[in-house]
Amino acid sequence: MSADVSESAPAPAAPATRRKRRGVRRGDGLWPWAFVLPLLAGVLVFYIWPILQTAFYSFTTWGVFGGFKWSGLDNYSRLFTDPQLYRSLLNTLIYTAVVLLGVPIAAWLASLLNTPGLRFAQFYRVLFFLPYVAMPAAVALVWRMIFNGDYGILNWALSRIGITGPSWVNTPGFALAAVAVVGLWSSLGFSMIVLGAGLKNIPTELYEAAELDGASRFRQFRSITLPQLAPSVFFVIVVTTIASFQLFDLLYALLGNHNAVLPKTMSLVYYFYDAGFVQNDKGFAAAIAMVIFVLIGLVTLVQFRLQRRWTGNA
C-alpha cells in the first residue's frame, strides 16, 4: 500500500477564525501516512510479526531439517522441568544483584563528584563513563587476560599477598563472579552520571533551611537527599535491572562459546541462544524467549508499582 502523497497538500490556510483553523487541523490528508508508513512497515515486518510468530513457535516442535509441528504445551512442560532453566534464572538474578550493588557505590562517587569547586570533575566523568561506551566484546578480551589463571595480573597481585587465585573464567562460581564484576565495572559510570544529575537538581535552599533548623548531616541526607533523589535511583535501578536481565555479550565474550563451565554459568539469554542457534531447537528456544519476555514484564511492573510508593506519585 503506497500512499499517494502528491495530491494531499492541505487546504491552503484561509484567512480564518480560530475555530475554522481547528477544522483544517483535524485532517492532514495523506501526509501523516507518508511520514509514518516507512517506519510502520519496518516495525510490522521486523517486530510485530516476529513477536506473534515467536509466541506461536513456542507451541511447536522443530525437526532437524526444518519444518515444525504443533505440539501444544510440550515445550513449556519440558522447560519448566529443565533444571537448566532454574540454573540460568538463578545466574541471571545473581548477576543482576551484583550489578545493582554498584548503585550505592555510584551514588557515593556521584556525590563526591558533585562537590562544588572540584577540579578535574569532567575528566573523572569521562574516565568513569569510558567502560559504558566501550564495545563489550572487545573489553571482555582484556578482562579474560586479567582473569587468566596462569599469567593473569589479578592472580599475580593475589600471589603477592599469599593467595593462589583460581582459573577464574574456567571455574563455575568464579566465572559468574568475574562476569558480574565486569558488568558492574561497565555500568557504574552510567549510574553515576544519572544520580549525579539527580543530585544537582536538588535545590540548595532545602539544605540551607535544614541547616538553619539545626538538622544533622544524617538527618539532611535522610529527609532531603534520599527522597529528592528517589526518582533518579528508581530510574537507574529499572534500566540496570532490565539490561542485566538480558546478559549475553559479556558472558559470551568473556567465557568463550565452548567453555565447559557454561552450563553452570549461562544466563537466561545465553540459554535461549544456545537452544535456538546452537542446538537448533527453535520451538524450545521460542518458549524460553516467552519466559524472558514475561519475566522482564513482571520486573517492570513491580518496579513501577514500587515507584509509586517511593515517589508519592509517578
Partner: protein, 276 residues
C-alpha cells in the same frame, strides 16, 4: 583561613577516592595497550611485564595482515552509518506525525510501535532470522542491517521532542503558506536538533557494539562486523594475544575517540535518555 584549608584537605581526599576509582575504570584499557605492545612471551609470563622490553608496534600491522580486519571494520562502519541515518530519517518523520498530525488510528499505531519497547530483543530473534534467511540475506550487509533500521525508542524520543514544541511555531509557518513537508523541514527540524543528536549517539553506540544479532546472521569471518569477529576470535588459539589486544583496541578506537571528542554531549544525552 582555616576554612579554605579544611576545604582543600577534603578536596584532596575526594581526589584520592575519585583518582583511585578512575584508575580502576581505566586500568583494563591501559593494560590492554601495554599487552598490545608486548611479545606473546611477555604477555604469557607469570610475572607481568609492566613495560615491554621493546615496543612491538608490528602487532598493529599484524592485525591487518593476519585477520580480515579491514573488511570487518568496513562492515562495522557501514552498518553503523546506514542504521544511524535510517533511524534519524524514519524516527524523525514518524515522531513528527505522531506528535503533530492528526489521522485515523494514530493512537493505536503509536501504541503498537511503543509496545515493542517492552519486549526483549530475544523474543524477535528467531523470526527475524527466518525473515532474513527467507530473503536470502544471511551473511550479507542487508541482513545485518535490516531490523536495526527501525527504532521504537527513536520514535518515542523524537515524538517527545516534537510534543514539547510550542504550537505557535508551526501555526505561523502554516499561515505563511508552507506545506507540511516544508514546515517540518525548515521550521521544526532545526529546533529538535538536540534530540536528533541523542538519537544518533545511541544508534551509533548500539550499532557498533551490538553482538547477538550479527553473531546469528553472519558466519563468514569477512562479512562480520568487528564485535562478532572479536567474540568469535576469543577462543581461537592460533591468534596470538598481543595481536588480539591490538585488534580489540582498534575495534573500540573509533567510538572511544568519538566519545572523547563529544564527551559532554554523549554523557548528558545518554544519561537523559537512559538507553544502551
Amino acid at each position: 583561613m582555616p576554612r579554605t584549608r579544611r576545604r582543600r584537605q577534603s578536596h584532596a581526599l575526594i581526589h584520592l577516592v575519585l583518582g583511585v576509582g578512575g584508575l580502576i575504570m581505566a586500568f583494563p584499557f591501559l593494560w590492554q595497550i601495554v599487552m598490545s605492545l608486548s611479545t606473546n612471551a611477555e604477555v604469557q609470563s607469570v610475572t607481568p611485564t609492566f613495560w615491554p622490553a621493546h615496543l612491538q608496534w608490528q602487532n598493529y600491522a599484524a592485525v591487518f595482515q593476519r585477520l580480515p580486519f579491514l573488511s570487518q571494520l568496513w562492515t562495522s562502519v557501514l552498518i553503523t552509518v546506514i542504521r544511524t541515518l535510517a533511524q534519524i530519517v524514519l524516527c524523525t518523520l514518524a515522531g513528527y506525525a505522531f506528535a503533530r498530525m492528526r489521522f485515523r488510528g494514530r493512537a493505536v499505531l503509536l501504541g503498537l510501535v511503543l509496545s515493542i519497547l517492552l519486549v526483549p530483543s530475544q523474543a524477535y530473534l528467531i523470526s527475524q532470522y527466518q525473515i532474513v534467511q527467507g530473503l536470502g540475506w544471511l551473511n550479507t550487509l542487508a541482513g545485518i542491517v535490516a531490523p536495526g533500521l527501525f527504532s521504537a525508542y527513536g520514535t518515542f524520543l523524537m515524538r517527545t521532542a516534537f510534543l514539547n514544541l510550542p504550537a505557535e511555531l508551526e501555526e505561523a509557518a502554516r499561515i505563511d503558506g508552507s506545506g507540511p513537508l516544508r514546515t517540518f523541514w525548515s521550521v521544526l527540524l532545526p529546533v529538535v536538533r538536540p534530540s536528533i543528536s541523542v538519537l544518533a549517539i545511541s544508534a551509533v553506540l548500539w550499532s557498533w557494539n551490538e553482538l547477538l544479532w550479527p553473531l546469528v546472521v553472519s558466519t563468514r569471518a569477512t562479512q562480520m562486523p568487528l564485535s562478532a569477529a572479536l567474540a568469535t576470535l576469543a577462543g581461537d588459539v592460533t591468534v596470538n594475544y598481543p595481536v588480539l589486544m591490538a585488534a580489540s583496541l582498534l575495534a573500540m578506537a573509533p567510538i572511544l575517540i568519538l566519545f572523547i571528542l563529544l564527551q559532554r554531549r554523549v554523557i548528558d544525552g545518554l544519561a537523559s535518555s537512559g538507553l544502551k
